[in-house]
Symmetry: C2
Subunit: 145 residues, 2 copies
Amino acid sequence: MSYSLTSFSKDTFNTALREKGLRPTKQRACVYGVILGKRDHPTADDIYDRVKRHLPGTSFATVYNCLETLVGCGLVKQVNMDRSPTRYCPNLTPHAHFRCTQSGKIYDVEIDNDTLSLIQALVPEGFEAENLDLSFSGTGKPSNN
Amino acid sequence: MSYSLTSFSKDTFNTALREKGLRPTKQRACVYGVILGKRDHPTADDIYDRVKRHLPGTSFATVYNCLETLVGCGLVKQVNMDRSPTRYCPNLTPHAHFRCTQSGKIYDVEIDNDTLSLIQALVPEGFEAENLDLSFSGTGKPSNN
DNA sequence: AAGCTAAATTGGAATTATTCTAATTCCTGA
DNA sequence: TCAGGAATTAGAATAATTCCAATTTAGCTT
């Protein structure tokens, strides 16, 4: 294996895949490792570049396939902001995102439980929300780039 | 004019455009009228179809141009959910969206002021949010389709 | 009312992110 | 070891949107 997951995440990874009857392949491990390794909300494109450094033969299709698999196993989450390319994030706790319109950077924003409950309470009678997406955009940390 | 805006919305429309030094053309009025006329969160494609019934010569590019203009003037809002085509909405009050994964329908969800304040308070020190997007997905009204 | 100019519209080509397809390669269990 | 399903691969295809260059139009100016 040319990308090292910690024994903890390796275990999480193997278990999550095996539970769905899927194989923990080196490409999937590498994609997962790349996402865990630099938590900057990379796009599929970014991930492709990083994966190729470890597994040069990897194709774009494989990166997309692996990402779909990892999302399906609940190991990573997709982050969609406006029409920009989908980004990927290993933070599985309920959280929002903030995109700085100047730098394009995306920051995780914690959601405390009280606010989370109130947000969930917005959903009208008769509707059952399985997912919620909350994102902000604006100007981020001015100096510290 | 082959699409009738109420005198109220016609005025809103003219004023909003003129304030930006833009021309209230019949295509723009028609796109706006179509969005006001059926508040089902239509896509650009839907809008194109509806506009063509009133102004048959209209091109796709024009629909996109008009939509961009209307958004820029603050007359309509874009609704982006996941990777699906952008939808358009004339509801300018702060509100969230719920997408039924079964029917694909999108519903407006009111956000009360208290919850809105709490949501805005999530944004960390040093960040300035200009926009917020909140959306839910799940199963909607089971019977009443 | 006619002419002028910038703004808007048009059709089609181009772009971009993503998905599909069919062929090959790889694992894994018998 | 070998069969058979799963995963990967390269490249074509798709879908939404944007770009472009040419034409038309709206709103002045006279």
